[in-house]
């Protein structure tokens, strides 16, 4: 069974928000219906987004890490948002594992948002329906798009290629290999939701220079007579002693 998902590489995410607005741009004119913005030019503007980037600081100065953390629906294998839905609007597709909302059935009761431990759902205040990431279900199967572009808008946009997309149930897929090889992890596994989306952790490249690597026999200072010190012309026993 296929389970489509995103794998997000925190090692290279610089927090640029390209995924946030490219998602908004694609989906507001897409099949998920518009994504409204309230007070777009006034106080406390707030709109519906399927994807947001949060920024955390970890550790104390100067050992500070700044982590940019993109977050959207994780398309859980056992999604708690589905069983709580009183109308059956919230559902998980059998064929590809994408969790979706059927707007014709959704009554905007918010149960699913409360059930989601990741805060990944946003009610659209104007349509009164629950909205969330669809993995661009209206892109990824669109035969009118070139095959290379049948990916979620955020994946296409990401300047650091921090977002991988594929089938996490296929052990040979790019996403499965990335999870395996690079320590991919799911968020809050203790909830038993088995998120399909995974994150790749930060990795540090370290350098260590051993003292004996510093100097080499061909040190350029020798060419100019700066080494060995003292310089050959300086006073020595040779000047005053004869054996």
């Amino acid at each position: 069974m296929t389970q489509l998902a995103l794998v997000i590489d925190l090692n290279v995410c610089v927090g640029c928000h390209a995924c946030v607005t490219s998602c908004k741009q694609w989906n507001t004119s897409g099949e998920a219906g518009y994504l409204s913005d309230d007070n777009p030019y006034g106080a406390d503007p707030t709109g519906t987004f399927f994807n947001r980037v949060q920024t955390f600081e970890v550790g104390e100065f100067p050992k500070t890490e700044t982590v940019h953390f993109p977050k959207s629906c994780l398309h859980c294998e056992d999604p708690p948002c589905v069983p709580v839905c009183p109308t059956g609007a919230s559902y998980k597709r059998a064929e590809d594992g994408i969790v979706l909302v059927d707007y014709d059935k959704c009554i905007g009761c918010n149960y699913c948002a409360w059930a989601c431990p990741y805060g990944a759902r946003e009610i659209d205040e104007h349509q009164k329906v629950m909205k969330k990431c669809t993995l661009c279900v209206d892109r990824i199967y669109d035969q009118a798009l070139p095959e290379a572009e049948r990916k979620p808008a955020c994946v296409m946009a990401c300047p650091t290629s921090a977002r991988l997309f594929g089938d996490v149930h296929d052990p040979e897929s790019e996403v499965s290999r990335a999870i395996r090889d690079r320590g991919g992890y799911a968020l809050m596994p203790e909830w038993g939701t088995q998120p399909a989306n995974h994150y790749l952790p930060r990795r540090k490249a370290v350098a260590e220079i051993h003292p004996d690597e510093l100097t080499r026999h061909d040190n350029p200072l020798k060419v100019d007579g700066q080494l060995p010190r003292p310089a050959p012309g300086e006073p020595a026993l040779d000047d005053v002693t004869s054996w």
Binding site: C13, G15, S22, Y34, G59, V67, T215, N219
Partner: protein
């Protein structure tokens, strides 16, 4: 749109924009797009869009934003009449200054044809130190001019770069670099953006990078970690400097007087002291090799030393311990960094099997690379010590042997340039004549005092005093001085100031409140009584900004999706390391309302005013419109060089040079809107000294000269100015009150000095540095009108290290005062471990005047957002500009502040506050909510 100029595709549905994505076939962004690019739709629908030409209503005050719409014909006739009179009488009374516009080739040509010297873009207040400091050292610089080769680097060191400047390409490159396992070190007071993913963050105090770089250089030389063969052959490190304080040629390079200079403008008869023969030879004589250390005496008794020896002497006292006290970076860290750079460069060499021939005729079977790459931007540049700091960086990069080599720094065409580049301004006021084009460029690259643009008394000819003794190497002008100088009448008053796409009444100006007052100030006596001190102000912009409110005439510009644009080879093209590249934009949606591209305004005015380059022989107008101009204009008749390098020649078969092609736009369109000419592999590296490349560059007229461009570890150009200040130069000399300044700062070797403002600052009282950064999701001040982007940054906080906050009694999220000796601001604070304790910072240009940018008066930007500019002065004691004394770069990041909590009961609102701007006629209504759906009918 932003200056990174990525390739985009705009997808329409029923004529409306469905989505914008990156062009996968574009070499720059390879299909990706940023937050700004993906929000282009909201730029189009913004209520801040200006859609009609506007005239300030009779009797209304400047700044009040009270306008009446007029027709374009009225606007043009007002401009034509006014400018014709100025051009007939004294053309320098017209000044044209532009923001980050990407059309400097055209705006510069317009100003030059008008005959005014008073033209520049925004470089003087942006990053001119980065351009000048590096170009005067290695003949190239970062960003549009060159950059780090992260495809092959193993160590990447980024200094003072935050979130932009070369946005998508840099993001792509850094992520690939990290995936390959490269090590990334970020030196920055703040850890955000790119620095967030650095393997090591080295927090540093603002304005002290020069000290760090000198200490790194000290270590590099002390341990012999420099690339000696590179330094000896490709820099002037081996060339002999006259070290005889009594000599009028003290500090200049010794030359073989009787020898062949090859090219008198860039002579090549300097001397080495040959190690093998132990005697003087002309540099680069076959089978010789210079001493880099020592002191020698020429046959005529002249005492000389290799430039490298002088550099070594200079950095000798600059130990890691010395720098620790200045920078806050520990001596152990500095040594470790120096070792890592030096050993990586030396021991992890790259050898590419690419044969090439150097300018002296030596054939090389391989290209060598030392894989340590650097990148730097405004964090180094925007200080009044920035030029010398950037020189220090370029020298460190050179000692590591990384210039135009794989894995190091790489040039982008048309760089490298000669040092200094050949372009020159006129040298005196006689270069400015009525009804005559300027006798030179408005901006140039002085090589000696003779190239300054001054009158017989040594006074500036330009309104911003660029190329005067105050700012001799102000190669990008000083836009930040224009309003203050014109208001003072120092050196003279203007008649008409035209501003394009720059918010000089707000975030692009230091001392914002005073500058706004100057814009609105009137003459109080004499026959001009009652007239504005800056009599006529024209502003062209696509959006209603704080600046447009002050205009007498507002010209509504189109957006980037509504017009033709060129990223011209005559300006700053989008070239990559492998060869020249330029590009065009073509309109995808019609202009909104009566919007007109600024280029069309210039073409129209140039035609009406009869500029020679824009007129036929019979005086009639030559170009129908901007696209026609782009195709047919040549730099001079028959030169074959035009704005676009691709598909030239009558049938489009030529590139770089060729006669105009009437189908050039079509051919660009058919080819993804880009022209890219990858060079043969043997021309892609070592271009400063690469004979094949130089010959190609001469053939294509990218360069006039093919001489090698030796790296100036030692800057003879600077020494010429210093000699003039010391009264030893045979030519022009500075006026006495500036002699000391020129003598001090025109040091031919890099040195560290605290920023000028600190001398006038009580650092006990104001201990904290205050700086800004530009967020990735905003481009300068222009994106607060964007409904999606402003949800990412609707208001800003002052970020403070918790230790600093604790000792100041400031709490997270609370209102506080941040105060400099020049002003104070009330804002909200946010505690952050990602800033060094001696620095506070905020996002640039998020704060807005109420009502500006199409925002409601109660918008967060106006009530909670703040500008740090209110704390920054444009003038230092002694009436000099708060700028670098060499280049005139604005010292944005030199201010020192203190912070304290706002008192209980104080207003919880930003201070200072400003009056609300009314919506300009023609701007849009502000909907209470929006739900954008492109092509609604189909969309259902």
């Amino acid at each position: 749109m932003c200056a990174c100029r990525c390739g985009i595709r705009v997808h329409l549905r029923d004529g409306e924009i469905r989505y914008i994505d990156g062009n996968p076939d574009h070499p720059l962004n390879k299909g990706v797009i940023c937050a700004k690019g993906a929000s282009g739709i909201m730029k189009q629908v913004s209520p801040a869009r200006l859609t009609r030409p506007l005239r300030r209503r009779e009797g209304a005050e400047r700044g009040a934003g009270d306008f009446e719409p007029i027709s374009w014909e009225e606007a043009f006739s007002i401009l034509e009449n006014r400018l014709r009179k100025v051009r007939e009488s004294d053309p320098k009374k017209f000044a044209l200054f532009t923001g980050r516009d990407q059309m400097q080739a055209l705006t510069g040509l317009f100003a030059r044809q008008f005959g005014t010297p008073n033209y520049a873009a925004h470089g003087g207040f942006c990053s001119v130190n980065m351009a000048a400091g590096m170009i005067y050292t290695i003949g190239g610089s970062f960003w549009e001019f060159g950059g780090p080769d992260l495809e092959r680097a193993k160590l990447f060191v980024m200094l003072g770069t935050a979130e932009d400047h070369h946005s998508n390409p840099l993001k792509i490159a850094i992520s690939k670099f990290k995936r390959r396992g490269g090590r990334f070190i970020s030196v920055n007071p703040v850890r955000t953006g790119y620095s967030a993913i650095a393997d090591e963050w080295v927090p540093i105090r603002p304005g002290t990078d020069g000290a760090l770089l000198l200490a790194l250089t000290h270590e590099m030389i002390a341990q012999g970690l420099y690339d000696r063969p590179f330094v000896a052959r490709y820099t002037n490190g081996g060339q002999l400097v006259i070290t005889d304080p009594a000599s009028p040629r003290h500090g200049l390079l010794a030359v073989d007087e009787g020898g062949d200079p090859v090219n008198p403008l860039y002579p090549q008869n300097q001397l080495w002291w040959d190690r093998h023969s132990n005697g003087p030879v002309v540099s680069h004589t076959p089978d010789t090799d210079p001493y880099l250390f020592g002191h020698f005496t020429l046959a005529d008794g002249t005492r000389v030393q290799p430039a490298f020896q002088l550099l070594a002497d200079r950095v000798l006292p600059h130990t890691a311990e010395w720098a620790e006290g200045i920078t806050g970076v520990s001596a152990a860290t500095i040594r470790r960094l120096a070792n890592e750079m030096g050993v990586t460069a030396r021991d992890e060499k790259i050898e590419l099997p690419i044969a090439w021939t150097d300018c002296w005729g030596n054939e090389h079977q391989t290209v060598t690379g030392n894989p340590v790459a650097f990148h730097a931007m405004r964090g180094l540049a925007a200080h009044s010590n920035g030029f010398q700091t950037v020189r220090a960086l370029a020298i460190l990069m050179s000692l590591l042997g990384t210039i135009d080599r794989p894995g190091g720094f790489r040039h982008k065409a048309p760089f490298p340039r000669a040092i200094p580049p050949s372009a020159k301004t006129p040298t005196g006021p006689e270069g400015v004549q009525p009804n005559t084009p300027l006798a030179g460029l408005a901006l140039g690259w002085p090589g000696s005092p003779e190239d300054l643009f001054i009158d017989a008394d040594g006074n500036p000819v330009r309104i911003d005093k660029a190329f005067s003794w105050e700012y001799p190497l102000a190669v990008h002008g000083l836009m930040h001085n224009v309003i203050t100088n014109a208001w003072r009448g120092d050196p003279y008053r203007l008649d008409t100031l035209m501003i394009f796409m720059a918010n000089m009444a707000w975030n692009s100006t230091m001392n914002t409140v005073e500058v706004r007052r100057m814009l609105n100030d009137r003459v109080t006596e004499g026959e001009a009584r009652g007239e504005y001190k800056i009599p006529f102000l024209v502003v062209c912009d696509a959006f209603q900004s704080e600046m447009t409110a002050f205009a007498d005439l507002v010209l509504p510009d189109t957006t980037y999706l509504e017009r033709h644009d060129v990223m011209s080879i005559l300006d700053r093209p989008i070239s990559e390391f492998d060869g020249p590249m330029d590009a065009v934009r073509v309109p995808v949606v019609p202009p909104k309302g009566e919007c007109k591209p600024f280029q069309e305004v210039l073409i129209e005015l140039a035609g009406r005013l009869g500029f020679p380059a824009f007129s036929n022989k019979d005086g009639s107008r030559k170009y129908k419109d901007y696209p026609d101009f782009i195709i047919r204009h040549e730099t001079e008749p028959g030169s074959g060089i035009g704005f676009l390098a691709g598909w030239r020649g009558a049938d489009g078969s030529k590139s770089m040079r060729g006669e105009p092609n009437p189908n050039q736009w079509e051919m660009y369109k058919r080819n993804n809107c880009i022209f890219h000419q990858p060079l043969p592999a043997s021309y892609r590296y070592m271009r400063n000294w690469n004979r094949g490349y130089m010959e190609w560059a001469q053939r294509t007229r990218i360069r006039r000269w093919g001489d090698p461009i030796l790296i100036h570890l030692y800057s003879e150009v600077l020494q010429r100015f210093r000699l003039a200040a010391q009264g030893k130069w045979p030519g022009r000399r500075p006026p006495p009150h500036l002699a000391g300044r020129v003598e001090t700062y025109f040091d031919p070797l890099p040195f560290y000095y605290p920023p000028l403002e600190l001398r006038a600052t009580d650092v006990e009282k104001y201990p904290l540095a205050a700086i800004t950064q530009r967020p990735m999701a905003m481009y300068h001040s222009w994106d607060s009108q964007n409904a999606w982007l402003r949800q990412i940054h609707a208001h800003n906080y002052l970020f403070i290290n918790p230790r600093t906050a604790r000792s100041s009694g400031v709490e997270d999220g609370a209102w506080l005062w941040v105060e400099s000796q020049w002003g104070r601001v009330r804002c909200m604070g946010r505690l952050s471990e990602a800033v060094e304790p001696g620095t506070v910072w905020t996002w640039n240009a998020i704060g807005k005047q109420p009502g500006a940018w199409g925002l409601a008066p109660e918008a967060n930007e106006a009530r909670k957002g703040f500008l740090l500019n209110h704390l920054i002065t444009d003038t230092l004691p002694g009436a000099t500009s708060n700028s670098d004394p060499i280049t005139g770069q604005a010292g944005w990041y030199d201010v020192r502040v203190r912070i304290y909590p706002a008192a209980a009961g104080e207003k919880q609102e930003v201070f200072p506050t400003f009056e609300t701007l009314p919506p300009a006629p023609g701007t849009g209504k502000r909907p209470g909510w929006i739900a954008y759906v492109a092509g609604k009918e189909t969309g259902k």
